[in-house]
Every structure is written in structure tokens, then in C-alpha cells.
Amino acid sequence: MIIQRPTGSEHSLDAALSIHDLTVAYHRKPVLWDVDLDVPEGSLVGIVGPNGAGKSTLIKAAMDLVPKASGRVMIYGQPYRKQRRLVGYVPQRESVDWEFPVSALDVVAMGLYGRIGWCLPVTRKYRDMALAAMERVGIADLAHRQINQLSGGQQQRVFLARALAQDARVYFMDEPFAAVDAATEKAIVQLLRELRAKGRTALVVHHDLQTVAEYFDRVILLNTRLVAHGPTTQVFTSRNLHETYGGRLNLLDEAAEAIGRQKVTA
């Protein structure tokens, strides 16, 4: 306690997203340990790691959807809470009930609710904007379908269109490539590149190691702790991958377990 932590960790102010000392614990187990990273504007970042490594938790904690044990999240140098409108979210497809009685267009328009404001109706103008977003992911002709009549890939594109309609600067995407057809996968990659060309930033939870180097400029290797983060060419090495997917650190795990045990039975 006497040793004061050196202040002023050098995080660049112009980073689209910076995460400081983020720690998240569910019940007793730490899910994320002291994650610290900066993402420059206009980059496509893949978040990679084994199951249970805390990939989804990282983006959910960044958006305050799960409580943080500690840490700060800044969007363009300002706290996340002030910058919510700059952040777009594409949740996992299974996170909602696709039997819900709305059309694809209704879902996409939800991305505009913030701009429409409290209690005001979704007018023609906003419906057109939503339709334009659907056009960009190639599903404009499905606008009036009920959402459970769409295929998995089409549903994923509806979610993407919703985030697009919002016209955010930073996008968090939770496994958009999970169980989609080849055409959708191509469309998503195309879209990500368009976003990058416009200076948008996207963090994408990704499972397929084969495609990481092709799709993303930067990669975050995660296994409860941050194993490595940086440009894909430098960081996406077999050594780092081995460390991410191979061994967990026994002592650290044991200590974490001891903390949990003490908290429950002490």
C-alpha cells in the first residue's frame, strides 16, 4: 500500500477506444483480469480466444452491460456513458427471440430510436433511413418479412443493418460470423471494409482462426487475461496462439480459486 502506483499510463487521447485496467468477475470467478488496451481509429479488430475466455464479456463490460469490478472505458477520450450514441452493438444472434412479432424493417429502425427520441413515432423519414441501411447489406427486399421467416444469415444481416442505421463510430460485434452462409460471410467482410474506409472502428468477437489474418488488421488474444494485442501481422503468431489456447497459468488460476473459496466459505 505504501508503494504508489505510477500515474499517467500513456494512453493516447485520439484512440477510438481505450480500456484501462478492466476486471470483471462473475460470482466468484474472475472472467477478465486487468485488461488494458488502445484501439486506433479505423481499425478492424478481431477478438480471439478459447471458449470461456471472456470475449463476449469484454465487449459487454465495455458497454456497461455487465458490472465491472474495476476499470474505465473511454470512447474518443471521453467516458463511455457520455459517448453512447457513438457506439453500435451487434449482439449474438441467439440473444433475442426471433419469434417476436416485428418485421425486419422494425428491427433495423430500432437502431434509430435514439435519434427519434422518447415517445415519438417512427416516421417515413426514419423508415427510409432504415431501408437504406438494409440496402447496404443486401436485404432491402426482405424489409417487410416477419423476422422468423428469415434464414440465420439474413437475421444476422438485420442486426448489422440495425447497427449501420445508427451510423456509429465504434462497433462492437458479438460473433457475427457464427453459423452464417458463405454469402452472408462475404457481405459482412465487405461491410467491415466499407466501415474501415470511412474511418469507423469495429471490434469483432471471432471464432474462426483460419480467417483472422484475412479479415482483421488488429487482433486481441484473450484468455481471461490479455495475452497479446496489436497488428495482426505482429501479434497473430503461433507462439501467442499457443499461449492463448494452450496452457492457462496454473498458479494464477489457483490463486483466483482460493479467492473465490475464501469469499464463499471463509
Binding site: 459487454k60 458497454m63 456497461d64 452491460l65 456513458r81 453512447r84 450514441r85 457506439v87 452493438y89 449482439p91 440473444s95 433475442v96 427471440d97 417476436f100 412479432p101 416485428v102 418485421s103 422494425d106 428491427v107 430500432m110 430510436y113 435514439g114 427519434i116 422518447w118 415517445c119 415519438l120 413515432p121 417512427v122 416477419q146 440495425r162 445508427q166 462492437f172
Partner: protein, 331 residues
Amino acid sequence: MNAPRFLLAAACLLLASTAHAADTAAWARVLFLHDHNTRVVVVGTSLLGLTAGVVGSFLLLRKRALLGDALAHATLPGIAAAFLLGEAIGLQGKSLPLLLTGAAVTGAIGLGAVLVIRQLTRLKEDAALGIVLSVFFGVGVALLGIVQKTPTGHAAGLESFIYGKTASMLRSDAYLIAGAAAVIAGVCGLFRKELALLCFDADFAASQGWPVRALDVLLMMLAISLTVIGLQAVGLILVIALLVIPSAAARFWTDRLGLMAATAGGLGAAAGYLGAMVSALWPKMPAGAVIVLTAAAFFMLSMLLGPARGILPRAFRRIALAHALTQARRP
């Protein structure tokens, strides 16, 4: 959708069946609301059904259909305690606004208890609902037992809140229901976009900065208010039916939230209207129960025939698709 046309047909059918039971003049009087008393009751129950359908749609889509059950049971101790309180401070015991305020208070406490149990223990939603429902109702029964033994309590007829006593509805009660129903329906309409977002994708809503918790509380408050005004008409056990049945039935008719809420409102209103009339026409027909049975009949028809998700239309579409496939395969 041809929901309205279907409803009209159903109404006619039901009326026709009533017709030969009572004499023609009587049912005509009732049908066209000549009789003042009937008019009050019918208008009250129809408005109640309408609003319950709308609120119920959101509850159903939020997957909280049975929360209404726990809330409704949790109103009983409030009613009895409010009566005792009224007695103690020298009010005339059965003042409806006081009783309903008591009901709303314990209903809200019950809701809070459900949330606390779910949050702080490892019990799941179903157990939380069951515990609140039975314990609050038990406390209510115990308080009611005390009320029964007070000099005025027995005559007050508080049990009518359990099963409902539509026929005794006064003009002022009908006004109360009408006013509250209009406010509740209005709030639903005003916040329909926000409530829809909450029900569909609460995480996304939260990521966009919508106050998800406050919206959830708003929805629960609407449910409590509706339960409280429904107590007198249909009673606390059957008011849950008005929240669940019309909205579940409406889901078979359409794939659009707005239309679903409207259809649910329509079905609820029709059930309230027909049920109250049947009860007025025939002796020994408790209105609350008849309203629920009418709504249940709508539900069965909807489940069979509803164009969007009904069993028969779905089966028909499947057969048509199979047929089209075999046709296509032929050279």
C-alpha cells in the same frame, strides 16, 4: 387481417345461442345497452378487457405472463389492511379508493419481493413468483379472517375482490375503471416504441442508453394498475386471465406488434362485453368467470384458425409447400 370480421361473426354466434334462452326483448335490451345498470357494467368490463389486452401483449412478449398472477394475489393483504386501517381511523370502511390504494401498495411490495428474491438468492423466477403469490395471499386470508370478525367487516363483502362481483358495479366504479383504463392504454401507446425495444432486445436498448430498468418498472406499474382496477370487475384470480388470454390469442392472428396489441385489446373488449351481457341475461352466471370463458373460447378459435400462427393455417401452408415442391420436381 380479417380479425375484426371474425370477431363480429363470433359475437353474432354467441348472441344467437343466448337468444333462445332468454326472451327476445330482454336480450335486445341488453345488447343495445338500454338498461342503465347493464350499460355501466358492460362499458366497464369492455374497457377493462381492452386495456388488459394491450398491457398483456407487452407482458407476454417480455415473458412475464405469470407475473400478473403473483401481483394479483399480492393485492389481497392490501385490501384487507386498508379496510382495517379505514375502520381504525374512523372512515367508513369500504371506501373503494382506499381499498384500491391498499391493493396497489401491497401489489408493488409483492413485485419488489419477486425482484429481491430473484436478485439475492439462487431461486429462479418461478419459485419467486410462487412464494410471493402464496405468502402474500396467505397474509391476505389471515387479515380477511380478522375483518370477518369485526362488527362491520362481515357485511363489507371484501371476498368479492377474490372472485369479482361485476353486477354490483356502481356508476362511479365504471368511471374509475374507464378513467384508469384510458390512462393505462394511453401510456402504452405513448411508450410503445420503447416498450417494444425493451421486450425484444433489452441488452441492445441498454447499450444505446435507454433506461431499461425504468422501462421495466413502467411496464410492471401498468400491470399493477390494471390488476387493481380489474379486482372489482373480475376478481383477483381471474384478472390474470384477462392479461394472459387475449394477448396469447392475438399472437395467432398477426406478426406485427401494433396489430397484435390492437387485436388483443379487441378480443379483450369483446370478451368483457359478451361476458358481462351473458351474465346479465342469465341467472347464476358469475360475470368474471363468464368473461374468462369467453376469452378462452376466442383463444381456442385463434389457436386453430389464426392466420399468422394458427394450427390449421400452418398445416395448410406446409401442405401447400410440399405440393408446390412435388410439382416443381416434375419435369
